[in-house]
């Protein structure tokens, strides 16, 4: 094998925008839609599509509430999502080690 085996990586997380959402939520308890949008720098429509994908995969939990009579959508990374994110990071680290090993062997 000369290349990275990306099939080992979770397809749902393996998109830069969804990865950014997962990383953001992994470091926080909860985050509102507007907060994520500001931090990620995505458009409303684009962000909604990616959040929906994560919600369908049951990686994030959505809570709709009202703050000062304004509707607010709050996202939380749930247990399944956290586990998937940790596994994704673990796989990346394994791939990195693998690539370093190949690099050393090729030099030899």
């Amino acid at each position: 094998m000369t290349d990275f085996d990306y099939q080992q990586l979770d397809d749902i997380i393996h998109s830069r925008i969804r990865l950014a959402i997962m990383a953001l939520l992994a470091s926080l308890e909860t985050a509102e839609f507007t907060y994520i949008r500001e931090k990620i720098g995505a458009t409303d429509g684009n962000l909604s599509v990616h959040l929906k994908k994560l919600e369908e995969a049951e990686y994030i939990t959505v809570t709709k509430t009202f703050v000062d009579r304004k509707p607010v959508t709050i996202y939380t990374l749930n247990k399944k999502g956290r586990k998937a994110f940790e596994l994704y990071v673990e796989r990346l680290e394994q791939l990195l080690k693998q690539s370093n090993r190949f690099g050393v062997e090729e030099k030899k």
């Binding site: 830069r16 926080l28 931090k39 791939l95 990195l96």
Partner: protein, 205 residues
């Protein structure tokens, strides 16, 4: 903003870049989730005013100490809760660090309220201010760890602890003025510094 739009939209070339990207997002979001110090500023001003009023009432023997502190503490709790609520709404996020800080100060606040009211009516008497000072120092010591701030741990915490020791060693009516001075030096000043740090992090984000 955490990653740039081009960062997000580009495909990941290798695992090292992916890991660096994850680390950057997580570090930046943690950094922007710190407290704005408003509650420290509020309590620094509010409780020092309460302490000065309490000193004046004891000089003139008005015997309103318990009512005065009852008002200061209960109004303080309400305003403090409003500050936290507003802060969270404005931030649009909650983090574990914020929850830990909230729990630390809630625990310290309940302990101090119980000691202040029940203690003053039972056995503690004039030793109360020293005990309150040492509890506040402990709150700052833990908070400093959560904020990742050495100066908060060692400047504010040690200031409160030393103040508490001095209050035990030199008891008397003046300890209430020492409490007011501690509130300004070790509560208000750290609050202002935390606020300025938060402001600059907000403008960077």
């Amino acid at each position: 903003m955490i990653p740039s739009q081009s960062d997000i939209q580009s495909s990941a070339p290798n695992p090292a870049d992916e890991l660096a990207f994850i680390r950057k997002v997580m570090q930046d979001s943690r950094r922007t989730a710190v407290d704005n110090g408003m509650n420290y500023i509020f309590w620094g001003v509010w409780a020092s005013l309460g302490a000065i009023a309490s000193y004046i009432s004891s000089v003139y023997q008005w015997k309103i100490g318990l009512y005065l502190w009852g008002g200061v503490i209960s109004v303080g709790w309400v305003i403090s809760w409003l500050i936290v609520r507003r802060g969270r709404q404005k931030a649009g996020t909650t983090s574990l660090a914020n929850n830990v800080l909230g729990a630390v100060w809630m625990g310290c606040g309940i302990a101090m309220s119980l000691i202040g009211f029940v203690g003053s009516m039972t056995v503690l008497g004039t030793g109360i201010t020293g005990v309150l000072s040492i509890i506040t120092g402990t709150g700052f010591y833990i908070s400093g760890l959560v904020y990742g701030s050495l100066w908060l741990r060692y400047y504010a915490a040690i200031g409160w602890w030393l103040g508490g020791v001095l209050m035990f060693c030199f008891p008397g009516r003046h300890v209430i003025l020492m409490l007011a001075a501690e509130m300004l030096l070790f509560q208000l000043v750290p609050g202002v510094i935390l606020y300025r740090r938060w402001k600059s992090e907000q403008s960077e984000a």
